[in-house]
Amino acid sequence: MVQFHRHHGGEGTIVVTRVEEPSKYGVVVYQPDDGRIERFVEKPREFVSNKINAGLYIFSPRMLDRVPLRPCSLEKEVFPEMAAANQLFALELKGFWMDVGQPKDFLTGTCMYLNHLKHVKPEKLYEGPGTVGNVIVDPSATIGANCRIGPNVIIGPDVVIEDGACIKRCVLLRGSRVRSHAWLESCIIGWRSTVGQWVRMENVTVLGEDVIVQDELYINGGRILPHKAISESVCEPQIIM
């Protein structure tokens, strides 16, 4: 990135990445030979380009002269000006990229990252009885008997998984607990939360900090705010305050 920036000598470099659905993001139109950015198109209605702003920039210090002393958006105000002055260049990112602002994408990003680790640092991945595929387990976590963990699971510090649990495509944050025989797929379990026995959770269910889900419930796409105790099933995706 630094090499490319020094080479073109302009005020700024934006890393771009190729995505399948560019219209969800801001699209960058640039010259293929030298990377000079022509313009930006926010959420285009027609196909313009499949490269989007990946959120990584390098600036030369003189670029600061363009920034006014008031609340100001880099992307909306400064960049278009820099592009018009031919000072902004795009560098395409090689490798995986994911915007992890949304829980659904966070989980997809987790899968991508674990896959990356498998290729470059496989020793960081965990293998033990009952694990399947790419899994990270913190050394302070405990896993019970007859569990099935993975693929694509991250288990944080001080997490407790009881016997017979099945966990796939989930991220379990510090101190959370999954009671026996529960089945979880595509979930994010917040710090110190507890998932009851025989609970089934799926479809990007997110538990905030210190949430308790009682035994034998079904949570489908629930977004549960912190410190909540859930005593009834959530059959359709919704936010529980």
């Binding site: 017979g164 099945c166 026996s180 025989h181 089934r200 034998e216 079904y218």
Partner: protein
């Protein structure tokens, strides 16, 4: 001496109980571990002096029924006979047709029970009541209270407050008449045969004279307890409710005995779950040895649970409340079953969770799978509310109800089956919710 007649209907009845009644006559469906009709026979043999049970219906060449009758005779040690109607004769037509057999040996009286009911039936008390009626009485009908609105789905009785005579009887009125409903249990003196003969004659005359045939057929087709086939010509059909009880009202011959003990119709799978719960509870009083106990080293039991001795259950499973497990069932490690009926030879793989469901014979549920239905219990805010038999669909959507897995189905690992009805012999491959799976 006394006898009991149980009207068991035929294959065209019990359609709302499908897919569970596709392979097995509905009266043989087990609730709390024993067939519906077994519980009824059990109530009958508790009556002092009752020593014969007659089943009347139009199931033909049915092996399950034949086998049941043999087993039941051996168990109860009284003669149990099946008299097959040559064609559907209506709720009273069979009684009239077989009157000679029923009245052989001159019984003092005979009970008649519909087979699609369940309850803690006070037959001995009903007998005492019948014996103390005026000499004009020929029939006592068991009745109970319902809510105003629900009463319109049953036979409705207006009893005299003091004499308990039935002043008025009407079947499924469209307007409010009374909250007292017909339980489908009767006690008849032998003189009832005269009344039946009169009804028979009336119907014959009406038929011959071309009178009222449309009313008959229309009424027949809407009758809860009617046994009509469209093909029958109708002239031999006698409907107990319409042709016998209605004209008997206010003649000094028909009396009502009220009960507030548990009673329910069994029309749908939801009512089977409801009755399962109540019969299990009744076992505390009647057959406490049938209820499973929690023992160390065995699976944990919560509340009322029936387990057939041949079932194999992992010690880490947790069962109940209100669960019946049939013979030959295999339950794996860490399985949870609640408020459900598990029929014979079902296999439940490790960690699965079964709630408010009926699992059909020989089916298999995969590991970690969740099979869940929605209970349809009577409204707890209304006294005397009965279970709503309800409709399958409303506003084009399937109503949430008890999940039924038909016989010989296979449910894979890790899926959820919720509020679904799965027809027999189905091999599922994914989750399903709120669907009928053909």
């Amino acid at each position: 001496m006394l006898k009991a007649v149980i009207l068991i209907g035929g294959p065209a009845k019990g359609t709302r109980f499908r897919p569970l009644s596709l392979n097995l006559p509905k009266p043989l469906f087990p609730v709390a571990g024993y067939p519906i009709i077994f519980h009824l026979i059990d109530s009958c043999v508790q009556v002092e002096g009752l020593n014969e049970v007659i089943l009347i219906g139009f199931y033909q060449n049915n092996d399950d029924l034949t086998r049941f009758i043999q087993t039941a005779q051996a168990h109860f040690k009284i003669p149990i006979r099946y008299l097959q109607e040559y064609t559907a004769l209506g709720t009273a037509g069979g009684i009239y047709h077989f009157r000679d057999q029923i009245l052989r040996s001159n019984p003092e009286a005979f009970f008649v029970l519909n087979c699609d009911i369940c309850g803690d039936l006070p037959l001995q008390d009903m007998l005492e009541f019948h014996r103390t009626r005026p000499s004009t009485s020929v029939a006592t009908i068991l009745c109970t209270e319902a809510t105003e609105k629900q009463a319109q789905n049953y036979g409705v009785i207006v009893p005299h407050r003091d004499s308990h005579e039935v002043l008025h009887y009407v079947e499924k009125p469209e307007t409010f008449v009374s909250t007292t409903i017909n339980c489908g249990v009767y006690l008849f003196s032998p003189e009832i045969v005269t009344v039946l003969a009169e009804a028979f004659q009336r119907n014959q005359d009406d038929f011959v004279n071309g009178r009222n045939t449309k009313r008959d057929m229309g009424a027949l087709l809407h009758r809860e307890m009617s046994f009509s086939f469209p093909e029958t010509n109708g002239k031999e059909i006698i409907q107990l409710e319409q042709d016998v009880l209605t004209p008997l009202a206010a003649t000094g011959k028909l009396f009502a005995y009220e009960t507030s003990r548990f009673w329910s119709q069994i029309k749908s799978a939801s009512s089977a779950i409801y009755s399962n719960r109540h019969y299990l509870q009744l076992y505390h009083k009647t057959y406490p040895e049938r209820l499973a106990q929690s023992k160390s080293g065995a699976s944990r039991i919560i509340g009322d649970v029936y387990i057939h001795p041949s079932a194999k259950i992992d010690p880490t499973a947790v069962l109940g409340p209100n669960v019946s497990i049939g013979s030959g069932v295999t339950i794996g490690a860490g399985v949870r079953v609640r408020e459900s009926i598990v029929l014979e030879n079902v296999t439940l793989k490790d960690h699965c969770c079964i709630m408010y469901s009926i699992l059909g014979w020989n089916s298999c549920v995969g590991a970690w799978t969740r099979v869940e239905g929605t209970p349809m219990d009577p409204d707890p805010n209304k006294p005397f509310a009965k279970i709503d038999q309800g409709t399958l669909f409303s506003h084009g959507r399937l109503n949430p109800s008890i999940t039924i897995i038909g016989p010989n189905c296979t449910i894979p690992d890790e899926v959820i089956i919720m509020n679904a009805i799965v027809l027999p012999d189905k091999d599922l491959s994914s989750s399903h919710k709120n669907e009928i799976i053909l």
